[in-house]
């Protein structure tokens, strides 16, 4: 089976940064565009190997079905958690308005 290769190694940094919620400056976008094109160009070499029948490895040492009993255990204290928050009130995190 032929390995599937992308048609182009042209990564669109502006678009991907938007997906990743990174509001880059124009300078950064330009710098990263060049650097990442080089890097993507390099990593494409994995597409040159014929790995047709090979099983992918997601974990070097796979463990399966790691379960525990569904019993309640103590978690973190809310007051402690909120202490690290940039903005909090009424036992909640405060953020800019989401819905008009």
């Amino acid at each position: 089976m032929e390995p599937k290769r992308p048609d182009t190694d042209k990564i669109d940094v502006s678009y991907v940064a938007h997906l990743a919620r990174l509001h880059l400056s124009d300078e950064e976008t330009q710098l990263f565009q060049q650097q990442l094109e080089d890097i993507v160009g390099y990593v494409r070499k994995i597409g040159t190997l014929d790995t047709g029948d090979i099983e992918p490895t997601s974990h070097a040492c796979a463990v399966e079905n790691v379960f525990r009993e569904d019993t309640v255990r103590p978690g973190l204290e809310r007051a402690d958690v909120l202490r690290n928050a940039p903005s909090s009130a009424h036992e909640q995190f405060i953020v800019p308005k989401i819905v008009e």
Binding site: A20, L49, P96
Partner: protein
């Protein structure tokens, strides 16, 4: 009484404490004095709370007086700023976590604490463990004690510099593509990456969840073996940790190499390898041969694809793991956002450094629609091939020996303009993370400029005892 912390190993300090030749408070005070004296040059530490360290030391002394006997009672350990230690800052050397204080102990920390260890300070690192030189820290550059104009390596550069610079008796680091072994090689100390799943990752800030491991950075192999014994073990809080018994690693070191088969993978001794490094490593192999080891030629044919596979997998996993840094619940939040999406975008753009942003973008790209198969899935298949290469070679040998790095420590600023060139430095170390096998680096010589050269020993998964045994025997033979 003044304790000479610059001349002792971690185990030697433990002996002094057990014999009550000095107290933990005296030992920790001596170390803090040394840090105050030396760290302005090295900047290995980014946070040292002297009052807290001394209070922990006094607690250990009181516990000893009351009959307590932890294996590490009263001994100081430095911690890479990526592990949660309850009540202490945990910034991962990033602006985006400035002000964050850990709410719980990582399991690795809890295990050391239960044996009485004292946590003396937090060491510098590349931001979110992304880097090979500690130049990506948002909190300043760490210098290599062997040459202050050169990098200590990364991402655990602070931990390695602290140990090699004698500002720490032992330190914790983490290793995802070489971040314990490479700085240990550059600075001239011992660094051990356990098998994946050997040490719990609970409380370790995640970079790449299928590659990360916590491990010790120490002066010698015995210290590393002891710390591994304490750190290792199954943890119900980390479902990737394995339920296997932990051998008494520190008791199995006998210096004997008779009958041990050492494999030399030809792909790690290629053209581009520095001549001095090649000579030092091959001389080390000769030393092992003289001590009774059998040297075997092996091949790991998929080595050349490792860096590419690593940078696809690691960045993909990082893009997911770093999605949580959004200014909502902890750390830095950018001002002036009109809605949450803008808040995320501005917070992450200014809170993260350049290398972190590059890797998030690369990782997002390789997972994105239309590219997943060609990059991420392909990389996972390459990973299988790399793992198989190791498994086949371990049928012919008990350990593999290689150089840890292709070059010695380079100058600060020398590689910061070329990320890809920096990535190539991981060529000998990233394979072990992909395969999940253990690896250790220890010093085996110096270049003409006095820069340390590291010898890497790799073993089969969950056979750290093989690695430690060979490392110890070589270390003894070399007369370290």
């Amino acid at each position: 009484m003044s304790v000479d912390v610059a001349c002792m190993t971690f185990c030697e300090a433990l002996r002094l404490l057990e014999e009550e030749a000095c107290s933990s408070e005296e030992l920790v005070q001596a170390l803090l004095d040394r840090i105050r004296d030396r760290d302005p040059d090295l900047h290995a530490y980014i946070d040292v709370n002297e009052g807290d360290a001394l209070e922990q030391a006094r607690t250990a002394d009181r516990a000893r007086a009351a009959g307590a006997s932890g294996r590490l009672l009263g001994a100081p350990i430095a911690v890479k700023d990526i592990l949660n230690v309850r009540g202490q800052p945990c910034t991962c050397a990033s602006q985006i976590l400035s002000g964050y204080r850990a709410l719980y102990d990582a399991t690795a920390i809890r295990k050391l604490r239960e044996e009485g260890a004292v946590f003396v300070g937090r060491t510098n690192m590349d931001e979110f463990a992304m880097g090979s030189s500690t130049e990506n820290s948002a909190l300043g550059v760490t210098r290599n004690p062997a040459d202050l104009e050169r990098v200590p390596g990364g991402s655990s550069g602070g931990s390695a510099a602290a140990v090699a610079g004698r500002e720490a008796l032992a330190a914790l680091g983490t290793d995802t593509g070489g971040s314990i072994r490479q700085p240990a090689a550059f600075c001239g100390c011992v660094g051990l990456k356990p098998s994946y799943g050997r040490v719990s990752r609970y409380g370790l800030v995640a970079f790449a969840s299928s590659l990360d491991q916590i491990g010790p950075i120490t002066h010698d192999v015995r210290d590393a073996a002891l710390l591994l014994e304490v750190l290792a073990g199954h943890d119900p809080y980390d479902s990737t940790s394995v339920d296997l018994p932990v051998p008494a690693y520190a008791q199995q070191l006998d210096g004997d190499l008779a009958g041990v088969r050492i494999g030399l993978p030809r792909e790690y001794f290629i053209e581009g390898l520095g001549e001095t490094i090649r000579a030092c490593v091959l001389a080390a192999v000769d030393t092992c041969r003289d001590r009774g080891a059998e040297i075997v030629d092996v091949s790991l044919p998929h080595t050349e694809y490792a860096i590419a596979a690593y940078y696809v997998i690691a960045t993909a996993e990082a893009s997911a793991n770093l999605a949580r840094y959004d200014g909502v619940r902890y750390g830095f939040r950018a001002d002036g956002a009109r809605d949450p999406i803008e808040m995320y975008g501005k917070t992450r753009a200014s809170g993260f450094g350049a290398e972190v942003k590059r890797r998030i973008i690369l990782g997002t790209y390789v997972l994105s629609s239309g590219y997943y198969d060609a990059y991420y899935l392909s990389a996972q298949k390459v990973r299988t091939l790399i793992r198989r290469d190791f498994e086949e070679s371990f049928e012919k040998c008990d350990v593999l020996v290689t150089p840890t790095t292709p070059t010695p420590a380079y100058r600060i600023g020398e590689k910061t303009d070329d990320p890809l060139e920096m990535y190539m430095g991981d060529v000998f170390t990233a394979t072990a993370n992909l395969a999940g096998i253990p690896g250790l680096s220890l010093p085996c010589g110096e270049t003409a400029e006095g820069l340390p050269v590291g010898l890497q020993i790799l073993g089969p998964a969950f056979k750290e005892e093989n690695v430690l045994r060979v490392a110890y025997a070589y270390e003894q033979a070399r007369g370290a």
